[in-house]
Symmetry: C2
Subunit: 431 residues, 2 copies
């Protein structure tokens, strides 16, 4: 009789080391849970000599992926190497060799999740990826099991720790984007090339994954509208704060009348909204369901050990399924065709900042433009500008359809009394 389960690890970076540590530290609990010992039999690395903060038996390390993918003793392959093409090839081979796969790779799942899922089902294997969204937060299980009976209407999340750390610094300490980014890099919360994080691409991948699971539909990455945080000005953050908002990079996935929208945008969130108190590198996913109303899952969105928690919980699930002989049944769900929601059916509140020429009737001209499009104001803030012939105006609108908001933006840009439309952001919640 088998007394242990062997896993193969593809990658031994931050998360890989966490997985090895967690399996060692919690071996007693794993044996209690599973009746089996969980052994990391083989680890694929790029560089054998690299210094790592854990001790690894040199015999278990390999440069050859086939030592894992072709080893009949290995039941579960854990992919924590990152990147897309190689990882995809290895996972395909693992599934074809009837190995269950656990991955933390959001880039890969966002791009090839549905294709890999099909392959997993065909081979009666598990493909699990809890760690791909929200690090250690069990948000994927929350959606697919915990809220399975509900009809999800909206998923709104802070799903990128790097940008949330930067924005927290900018809002709470008033530092510039550049300084906050340097701090994040120094503390290991941002990479040397932060593009994927600060441009919103990483968050977009995670939102695509969440939207697929929430709405049972095949959201493609290119369906996600993406905005980043690189152009935020400290003026806007200051004014937002004055108005009772905090700036967050918010991913929204919404489904209405079988149409969906998925976007990632810097957004002013009302201070009393549950997402406003999510600080630094933490993540949170806020869910609106027809029956549950609102719920939120909060926790560390990255980091070696938290992410390892999600990976190893998936490994446990795969092993339990092996014991029961029911692998390949997870995350199965109906697939609906859903169209993207057209702009005239999408609504949002907006913050807009602009400079008017200080002429008699200037303000009345812009308010007529708004009211002609039936856009009403919730808040107006006029501040004296240094350039004294100009007036700086901040407007927070009530809910407006996105097509009408785009129209008013066009009109404002063409009006002679408007010197410049400086910025506009989505607003969430009531400040």
């Amino acid at each position: 009789m088998k007394t242990d389960v062997s896993i193969g690890l593809l990658g031994l970076g931050t998360v890989g080391c966490g997985v090895v540590k967690l399996i060692r530290q919690h071996q007693e609990e794993l044996v209690h849970q599973l009746g089996y010992e969980v052994k990391v039999k083989r680890i694929l690395v790029r560089d054998i000599e690299k210094d790592r903060d854990i001790e690894i038996d040199p015999a278990s390390i390999t440069l050859n992926p086939d030592d894992i993918l072709n080893d009949p003793e290995i039941d579960v392959v854990v992919e924590v190497m990152g990147g897309v093409n190689e990882a995809r090839q290895y996972i395909i081979k693992a599934l074809e060799n009837k190995k269950h796969v656990v991955t933390a790779n959001k880039d890969l799942i966002a791009l090839y999740g549905p294709e890999l899922q099909e392959l997993a089902w065909k081979n009666q294997c598990d493909l699990l990826y809890e760690a791909s969204v929200g690090g250690g937060i069990p948000i994927i299980r929350g959606l697919t099991d915990g809220l399975v009976s509900d009809r999800i209407q909206k998923v709104m999340g802070i799903v990128n720790g790097t940008t949330n750390f930067i924005l927290t610094k900018m809002m709470d300490e008033g530092v510039s984007y550049e300084e906050a980014l340097r701090d994040a890099q120094a503390l290991g919360f941002a990479e040397a090339d932060p593009t994927a994080d600060v441009e919103g691409l990483d968050a977009a991948r995670k939102m695509a994954i969440l939207a697929r699971l929430a709405f049972y539909t095949n959201v493609k990455l290119e369906d996600v509208e993406v905005g980043g945080i690189t152009n935020l000005s400290s003026e806007d953050l200051h004014y937002g704060k004055t108005l009772g908002y905090t700036m967050k990079l918010i991913g929204v996935a919404e489904c209405q009348d079988e149409q969906i929208e998925v976007c990632v945008q810097p957004t002013f969130v009302a201070q009393n909204h549950p997402l406003a108190s999510v600080k630094n590198e933490f993540n949170a996913v806020y869910i609106n369901g027809e029956a549950i109303g609102e719920a939120m899952f909060y926790g560390p969105g990255a980091g070696s050990m938290p992410t390892a928690t999600a990976v190893v919980s998936d490994v446990v699930a795969a092993i339990k399924n092996m014991q029961l002989g029911v692998n390949g049944r997870n995350l199965r769900g109906p697939r609906f065709e859903r169209k993207l929601m057209p702009l005239d059916q999408r609504y949002g509140q907006f913050y807009i900042r602009l400079h008017l020429k200080d002429q008699v009737g200037a303000f009345s001209k812009i308010t007529s433009a708004f009211s002609a499009l039936d856009i009403s104001f919730k808040r107006i803030l006029q501040t004296p500008d240094k350039r004294d012939e100009l007036a700086e105006i901040i407007i927070v609108t009530h809910k407006v359809s996105l097509d009408r908001f785009q129209k008013v933006l066009l009109q404002l840009n063409e009006m002679p009394v408007v010197k410049e439309v400086n910025s506009y952001y989505l607003v969430e919640g009531e400040a």
Copy 2:
């Protein structure tokens, strides 16, 4: 071939009506998920004539539990009738008749959960009770699946919506306990007899359930220390607010060195703590795990439809298990014997309010008592008292063992310079 699954409902109150509604409204999704139609075949009620806000086929209603428990067509019994003895008898009979059971009954699970779980395993049936804690929040799955690979150190929660509603009113609007209770009753957030809620008993039951799952041990209800909110004074809430705290009824379950403590106490929570922003009838459970660090699950802790979400998600899980032939494997876990943690190994910060006689050296006498027991102060607030021969002192201590805190309380009560120790509360977080 079977094309539907029949469930029997014990009880048709708030939650029962929600379950019927949810199954009707989401039938399409359920069929997609399961391949089966889910039919509520029979409903046990106490009063056939009672007005209900949903339409029910009179033929499906019965006063006789055996119409459900002995019906071979019924696969899943959903117990939402509440109460302990009858519900327990019916569930036992259902399990013995090889029916899977889903229950929302925290009183029953807190008292008889382990016994019923054993019976379910013996009969290869599922016994699921996600709705028993935190209403619609999938916290039980979060612990048993999502965080299965972690070693949970502490579970801290706001798990009673009634008291959280009352405390929110008292803190935010400054109203008295009596007035807040009346409001809660008028809005349906508190029952005519609110004892179980306001005395902390309901929260204690839920914490016992969570502690069992988190620490794999058989916590008994009598192991939970319980305090309620009926004696809170508006003075203390006012001073707490001044010091940066908000008052919450907090359940804590902690495990250290294989010893546990479980208690429910009114607690001052620092305003910047994630639990402080949980308002009104909402619930939240905050978890510390060795690997994940901190995570939180937030949502509606009660209500017809949210609770029905958790119930029907359990029904879906039971039916999926039926299809796979793996019922009776859920929530199985190792059981450790764990002792209760002795007072000298339990630590807490405390808020304490007392009146001193206004004598020279009085304050120095009490500070000596504290420092002799090695208890240091974090904050001190002295306020002039109306009774002008007295001084009112509020102290927030640093962490102190509970036995030493009890000693200092005894000494203070016996000191001639101390007129009265008015109140003391646990403090959580750094204000």
